[in-house]
Amino acid sequence: MDEAMTHLTPDEERILKIANGDRDALSTMYLQHKGAVFGFALSMLHDRERAEDVMQETFIQLWNSAASYIPRGKEPLSWLLGITKNLALRRLRTDSLSVSIPEEHSDPADPLDHYLAVENKLILRAVLTKLSEEEQQIVLLHAVSGLKHREIADLLEMPLSTVLNKYRRALQKLKKLLGESI
């Protein structure tokens, strides 16, 4: 599509700059979206270090593949999180022999659980330990990344209704769990 005829979002403009080797644009994108990328990676990997690795890899790939991005006049965060998803899935495949992903992290000895407790990340801890994997992803994508439910549905390849139901169920769980703490 001809760029001159497309209204570019600020992030799309940054990606075009990144494609031309603009490191400042990359830095801006990184600082702006690292939380969203990290949170999504964390919801898939349940491991802080691996989530950090995937976060870094995501932005390295953004740097290397920015030229392949086709502007559509929409926020490119879904596209960026798509990279994150693919990298996280690849990491899960390569680590499949040594890493298991339980549905719920109720074990207090879990390193992630312990870390979050120390850091006093109560809500995040509740999300990662009490919600199902899909619920975690949906909640984090919506709350942290700011994606709309339809975008989440596209990204996770789920029906929109499923995303909505899971999101509402997750919120109810969190409110119930955190009601007394907050």
Binding site: R23, L26, S27, Y30, L31, K34, G35, A36, V37, F38, G39, L42, R48, E49, R50, E52, D53, M55, Q56, E57, F59, I60, Q61, W63, N64, S65, A67, S68, L116, E119, K121, L122, I123, L124, V127, V139, L140, H142, A143, V144, L171, L174, K175, L178, G179, I182
Partner: protein
């Protein structure tokens, strides 16, 4: 807490937890991006940062790999095996565990001349063997008639010796095929502390010792002067292959007279009327060459002819009377001339014709009547006895 507040709180917590590794990212991006191909980037350009445990595992794995490779290379490199190739030139090559030549030693002057322009160092064994064989052939040391090569391996386990044998034989065969030759390779494994005879290689020494033990007529001092082809011929005739050796191919006999021809030559040379069947032949050495000793026994004398195993020339003839000393007027052990017999063809299967020069028939045995007419004095009788004893010494 409503939904909006919960989401805001969650976002803040994640943002706090997400590390800021921008500098590391920018450093990683310093590497040039991979070129685009059909609109797709096919690599990250730089390996991403690994987590701590992954780094530890990677470093540990690398150390194990390095140590393993080092140990493997060290063991392989330290493992040395010596292969000696004897034709007449004698060359020893030392190969390491990777079967590459790490040392070359010329065991005699012929080898030094032959390999003056060849550098076998560092070559794979197979290539070195092929080169050596080609040099042997081009220089004429190995031919169809003289087709024997002795290969000796030292400092090798049985399994390694076996593997090297396959490699050596394959290379020799390749070189021989290029020259349309049919070679005979005796591949033997000998002890690391094999003793050597004089300046002979350990391999040739071992073969000489084996053959000497297999024959009561041949000893080390005689055998050591023979060529490799002669030794292989002796081994073949005596069926005396060393226990630790394998012979590949057929040892050529084209340069040698067979025992039937030798017997015919001796029968013809004998003044008495004898048949070939009455001649016995024994493989022996004479004047640094291979020879047969053909024995003919008649009523009056025993004739011993030394015949060259290669040319069929009668090299020596000894006649010993079989009559009692009292009846013997002139014991006549006689030696044949050293001039070649022109009637003996160089053909591998010659048909003898004519008389050898100075046969014992020139000195007839005295009859008992003549001895009666000419009684011996005690001094003459004592002299006759001494001559007879000397003749016996020469025979036995």
């Amino acid at each position: 807490m409503n939904e909006s507040q919960l989401n805001k709180r969650l976002r803040e917590e994640v943002e706090q937890l997400a590390p800021n590794r921008l500098e590391e990212l920018l450093a990683a991006c310093d590497a040039p991006p991979a070129p685009r191909k059909d609109g797709r980037v096919i690599s990250f350009g730089q390996k991403p940062k690994r987590s701590h445990w992954q780094r530890f595992v990677a470093i540990a794995a690398m150390l194990i790999l390095i140590i393993g490779i080092g140990a493997f290379a060290g063991v392989k490199g330290m493992s040395r095996t010596v292969l000696t190739f004897d034709v007449n030139p004698s060359v020893s090559v030392m190969v390491n565990g990777f079967n590459r030549v790490c040392r070359v030693k010329n065991n005699n002057a012929d080898a030094a001349v032959l390999l003056a322009d060849e550098d076998l160092m560092g070559k794979p064994l197979s290539e070195a063997v092929e080169t050596l064989t080609e040099e042997f052939i081009e220089a004429g040391y190995v031919t169809d008639a003289s087709n024997g090569i002795l290969v000796t391996v030292q400092d090798a386990s049985d399994s390694r010796a076996k593997k090297l044998q396959e490699m050596v034989l394959s290379s020799v065969e390749t070189a021989a095929e290029n020259s349309s030759l049919h070679l005979a390779v005796l591949y033997q494994k000998i002890d690391d502390d094999q003793s050597t005879i004089g300046t002979l290689s350990a391999g040739k020494s071992a073969l000489v010792q084996t053959l000497a033990k297999s024959s009561k007529d041949l000893d080390e001092d005689e055998l050591k002067n023979l060529s490799i082809q002669d030794l292989l011929y002796v081994m073949d005739i005596l069926s005396a292959k060393p226990a630790s050796a394998q012979l590949t191919g057929v040892v050529s006999r084209a340069n040698y007279q067979n025992s039937d021809v030798i017997a015919a030559l001796a029968a013809q040379a004998c003044p008495a009327d004898v048949s070939t069947d009455s001649v016995t032949t024994v493989l022996d050495c004479f004047d640094r060459g291979l020879a047969y000793v053909a024995n003919v026994v008649t009523d009056n004398a025993e004739y011993a002819y030394t015949v060259s195993a290669t040319s069929g020339q009668i090299l020596e003839a000894v006649v010993t009377p079989t009559t009692s000393p009292e009846e013997t007027s002139e014991p006549t052990p006689a030696t044949t001339p050293t001039t070649p017999d022109p009637t003996v063809p160089a053909d591998p299967a010659p048909v003898p014709s004519g008389e050898p020069e100075q046969t014992p028939a020139a000195e007839p045995t005295p009859t008992p009547a003549e001895e009666i007419d000419n009684p011996l004095s005690p001094e003459d009788f004592y002299g006759k006895i001494k001559d007879f004893a000397d003749a016996l010494d020469r025979i036995f």
